[in-house]
Symmetry: C2
Subunit: 335 residues, 2 copies
């Protein structure tokens, strides 16, 4: 708090199509002062995630949109630097929807204390936070894996995809990932142990699935939607389970993309397509964190982070993530 | 067997788009003679159902296509007129995939004896047969109804839809049907007790759903697909359950219809879309039949049949069903 300045990133415009840096305002303001019962948190790490694109639209989704001129929404982890709360002490590490800002005020109801024994501080908003828990519950609960199942996961090197694929391996499944570059392909196969991967920018996804999934697809964990998903749907087995986690290929289209209707596949294949939000599993988060932390310690679960320093770089880094340019869980390091 | 002639209807051509009568051949042949272990069945009633359209395509679906020159596939009920089987006696009423023909041979493995105490003979291939069981299990198991749920069912006066809507009422749900004529609309509301219905040919389905489902839609039992389904999807509640039973609006298109991708709705609304085939519930069929027969006897469950006499009229009647011209469960009476 040496310079007594709070850096904040506000939503300037509602983008049509891909966001531009000019859709954000970087603003300096004074550091807020906690009132009775409140704490002041200095943000150390900010998580950038695809869902934030939806909050930039003027459309009620599962959560309210960010208002123009309001701080961008985002999960972050930081330390309590002032406390007027009986529950939090200076130095406590806390995580929550603190937003794209260097300092945040909280009354304590929207944050949690982070257990640093489970992993490095930034894992609390990464593999042991929302993205990791999304992978854990979305895969284990929605996809109901059985050893031997063939699993396809899209955006396989991303924050969620990399965790889904490794948990699928732990569960005894065959795992094929789709990725957007050859370096991501090598990473998921050589470092994470996927059985195969497909570069959707270079390969015909349908043909590549025929080669890598000769016995069809039992589980599809979808982060992208679009033509990758169409190719998977044409190859599902009877009783397939499709988890609709994200549709990043669609988030930045000014108009909805048209595609052939193919819902008859679900009937023919007696299959289920289910969307979920990780908040559904809130009461089980600690179980998930502890189990994943165990796998990390045993070496069964790895994670790759894409770290950019400086809050002022958050807009550019966010746009890069939407473009598929980042490689791993996207994080901004503030301190 | 007075005239010793077997009338059979064969597939002549694989239709592109809507089938024409010329896609079928009406053929006279001699009545087949059962071998040791076999029985000869005289068909009394033939069921005509939308799934048969799929079997006319040269495409492996969940079942093999009908070959050109082969008898059209179809559920039928009839009486044993000759028996060389120790299990079946002359006069037994049996039901199975006997095909579009006046006489069929069976070795007994693909048929079942019909219990006439449960209802009139033709109900064994209607409300107490495949269509009724499809409604019963597809609604109760896939849609998991809770009293007070708002349920939308498409093709609501059809063989499956009329049963779904009434079971939903029995379960304490609010039920809205979509239909293709005002007489069907009156029928489902005034005779079957639906809370409301929408004539998709005359009304804007979205606006009509806004009026009839002011609190959104919890369950959608889909028999049609297409724009009706799009309008429903835009209005589902969190935790909605969508049963994909049929997509009749799509079966007769020479090319797939294109539509805006909308799978993000499943994520936002934490909802499930599941396709099923009634065969999944085979081991529970008798339970379903007995329960529905009880509701029929108590007057809680009604059914409407659309009956045409004479096997030679099956092709025309089948095309009428695909066109939405028939009103109720389509049956052909042979004897």
């Amino acid at each position: 708090m040496s310079d007594e300045i709070n850096l904040r990133i506000l939503l300037a415009n509602r983008p049509s199509g891909f966001p531009k840096e000019s859709d954000f305002i970087i603003e300096e303001s004074s550091i807020p002062i906690p009132e009775e019962g409140e704490i002041l948190i200095q943000t150390e790490w900010l998580s950038l995630d695809p869902y934030m694109r939806g909050r930039m639209n003027d459309q009620k989704s599962y959560a309210d949109p960010v208002a123009i001129g309001e701080v961008m929404v985002g999960g972050a982890v930081g330390r309590v630097v002032r406390s007027r709360s009986p529950i939090y002490e200076i130095g406590d590490v806390v995580e929550g929807r603190l937003g794209w800002q260097a300092y945040a005020i909280s009354n304590g109801s929207d944050i949690r204390k982070v257990n640093l024994d489970l992993g490095p501080i930034q894992t609390s908003i990464g593999i042991l936070g929302m993205p990791g828990l999304t992978a854990y519950f979305g895969f284990l609960d929605v996809c109901e894996p059985i050893p031997g199942d063939t699993v396809v996961v899209s955006a396989a090197s991303g924050a969620v995809g990399q965790v889904v694929g490794q948990i699928a391996k732990i569960m005894g499944c065959r795992v094929i990932g789709t990725v957007g570059s050859d370096s991501k392909l090598s990473f998921v196969v050589d470092e994470l142990g996927f059985d195969a991967a497909i570069n959707y920018k270079k390969q015909d996804v349908g043909n590549a699935l025929d080669v890598t999934c000769p016995n069809g697809i039992d589980i599809y964990f979808d982060n992208v939607g679009g033509f990758v998903t169409d190719a998977v749907m044409d190859r599902i087995n009877t009783g397939a389970r499709i988890s609709v986690c994200g549709q990043i290929s669609q988030y930045n289209l000014p108009e909805p993309e048209f595609a052939p209707r193919n819902m008859s596949i679900l009937t023919r294949k007696q299959s289920k397509m289910e969307g979920f939000l990780v908040t559904k599993y809130q009461s089980l988060f600690d179980d998930g964190r502890i189990r994943m932390a165990g796998w990390i310690k045993s070496g069964e679960l790895k994670y790759r982070e894409y770290v950019v320093e400086g809050l002022e770089n958050a807009p550019r880094t966010f746009i890069g993530m939407l473009n598929g340019e980042n490689f791993g869980k996207t994080l901004v390091k503030l301190v």
